[in-house]
Symmetry: C2
């Protein structure tokens, strides 16, 4: 047969690929599996979005504009204005989820063989998007001890080579929940200006910042309009991950014009999703509070519960709905498999995302797992019970 492409062979397997069949087997033997491994919240999708879907008046679902429907682009511009960010609708492209926004950005900004610097642990799919685009990911390692704060900017500077074209961060961060400070953003700003790089800022969790932390969008940074690309999405803010509606925004119109050519090739983003997203952006404050308060309550509950389990270290995440946790185990992936394969308590167990999947530096994150607090408090409580008892029994405990 003809050979598969090299980039195909380089694409990483899902970090949970070994766990999925084990979770299914556990369920098949009647064991409830609490899935803390994936960013799929159980919260209601914005009712306004559902209403728009149910009341759709069109009888022909046509192609939309390749840049996204203008009404939706204008609605996003108003949305950003409310958080103090001035963007014209022409600064905004609608994409098929934040995923496509990242792919478009990589294709537009980086050549095959170019390098992108990212603080690790990082969202695992960044590596996949980069591999698909023949781009090399260069990690700068952050540490659980200081809650995964931005590593010293000198470490980024040391990684810069003639092939470096961009820095990407996720703020607030998936997988760590860390919220970058304004000072940290300014440090990156100064670096991208000094070395003439692009700065890609993924803010899909922007509205989820806790403890009175002010979230300031990277779009408020001055002097880098030509460098800055904002990635956004309705997935998390409106609990509507399946709509696949995201945003790529920039005040650099040469860049957007080029990105639009890639958009034209794929014709348009999903149109029912756009309709729903536009309605979701009109959600009343009560809905946004429901989302916010649900995650805040879960975070407070989860972090306390985790830190009460002997041997676990969990920094307090300031945003998003994840936390990276250090477990007292030899190998977090082995432990995660053991929990599904060998353990159950009251016919229940948990599924965790092994931390190593969020690092590219070999050996990193071996004792860590990412936990998504996407379940209700009762389920989270049961899951923590399982985790505590599992750790107590696990033969590879250290």
């Amino acid at each position: 047969m003809p050979e598969i492409s090299k980039r195909g062979m380089l694409m990483p397997n899902s970090p949970i690929r070994k766990l999925v069949p084990l979770a299914e087997a556990a369920q098949n033997r009647g064991c409830k599996v609490y899935r803390l491994n994936i960013g799929q919240p159980d919260l209601l999708t914005a009712p306004k979005a559902m209403e728009a879907i149910r009341n759709i008046s069109a009888n022909v679902i046509e192609y939309g504009h390749s840049a996204g429907n203008e009404s939706l682009r204008r609605k996003f511009a108003s949305f950003y204005e409310k958080i103090g960010v001035s963007l014209n609708y022409e600064d905004i492209l609608i994409t098929t989820g934040g995923s496509e926004a990242i792919t478009l950005t990589l294709l537009t900004c980086l050549n095959a063989g170019d390098e992108i610097i990212v603080p690790e642990p990082f969202y695992a799919n960044y590596f996949s998007f980069a591999t698909a685009a023949d781009v090399k990911v260069v990690p700068v390692t952050s540490n659980i001890e200081n809650g995964f704060a931005l590593p010293p900017i000198s470490e980024f500077e040391q990684k810069i080579t003639p092939r470096t074209k961009a820095i990407i961060i996720c703020n607030p961060n998936n997988p760590t929940g860390y919220l970058y400070s304004w000072k940290e953003l300014e440090q990156i700003r100064d670096l991208v200006v000094k070395y003439n790089l692009f700065f890609i800022c993924d803010e899909v969790y922007r509205e989820l910042c806790y403890d009175d932390n002010e979230i300031r969008s990277s779009m408020l940074l001055e002097g880098i309009d030509k460098h800055l690309i904002l990635i956004d999405s309705v997935s998390k803010r409106y609990s509507a991950t399946g709509l696949r509606v995201g945003v790529m925004a920039s005040r650099n119109h040469d860049l957007l014009q080029t990105a639009l050519k890639f958009c034209q090739a794929r014709l348009c983003p999903p149109n029912i999703g756009q309709l729903a997203a536009e309605a979701a952006l009109d959600s009343p404050p009560e809905y946004c509070e429901y989302i916010y308060n649900s995650f805040l309550e879960r975070r407070n509950f989860l972090v306390k519960a985790l830190n009460e389990i002997p041997g676990i270290y969990c920094p307090t995440p300031k945003g998003a709905f994840y936390t990276m946790v250090r477990l007292p185990v030899d190998d977090a992936e082995k432990f995660a498999m053991w929990m599904l394969q060998e353990f159950e308590y009251n016919k229940q167990t948990v599924m965790l995302a092994p931390g190593s999947g969020f690092y590219t530096t070999p050996g990193s994150g071996k004792q860590e797992v990412r936990i998504a607090y996407v379940l209700n408090i009762e389920d989270l409580g049961n899951a923590m019970d399982c985790l505590k008892r599992g750790l107590a029994q696990y033969p590879g405990r250290v």
Copy 2:
């Protein structure tokens, strides 16, 4: 500012980019513009799809499976079985439109720098997808004189180099409406086996074949299961282009497993679209006949009307809803611009897609335009009136 990527700079502009502002200006001065340039039919989207959207019961629009919802994959398998094609649901990946299916196929099958052979004129976005994937498009020119039949297979063979990895065709064809014969498909089959290539067959217009021509899917070819990739979509069959639901199918599971890794990175296809597509696949025969008969009637009307206009040559397309037409003009793009800028009849004019946008061989298609018969008969009649009168007045007539 940092430089845009080379692939971004190589991405083609839309072949109608010069026409769009002219069409808008014409409309702004009160002139009706019949848009024959785009494959957006005015026909009703499958009512079953609209019903499924309006009756959605879920209150959380979650991520679906990266391979597509299993129920939809199984529905497609049954659909193919009805046309005599045996495919298991595991042979099928659901994609974000046929567009993504092509991108995934290129990324999975070809390395950066590899070559793909395509008969030209071809769907212009193939070139864009290839450019985004750093793949080189190698055209083999077909001719209007024989209705754009497959060029002699020896011409394909001459273009094969050590970098050739695949052949792609669209059957029935966009932009020509040509329906490849079984014998032609077998010639390609023999060639891909001889040179160990992939064969990508884009059949998004499969159900639109006229004049008692039997359409036989490439999936019925024997002996190339490891080579063959089918591209499909619900866009045209159910007049639902904005749903963005397509298919990449193959019996080569190594290939699909690799494609799935690209799918996992982007999480899932749009979920409301999948719901609607699944319902659309259950459309009664009456709906499919409505679509089929509408296009058949339009084709018959259009081809006759075109060939009655002095100097026009229009072969009879056997499928899809396009025809490539030779006009008695110096330059079809100039003529298309002139029609929007300088001409109107009864406050009406037409928008045509210049033929050169469907060729990569320089100078080819200069007298040709692609016409999509996506308007009702009355509008088509008015459009043909305009075209006839425009040609009579056009100063660059030859």
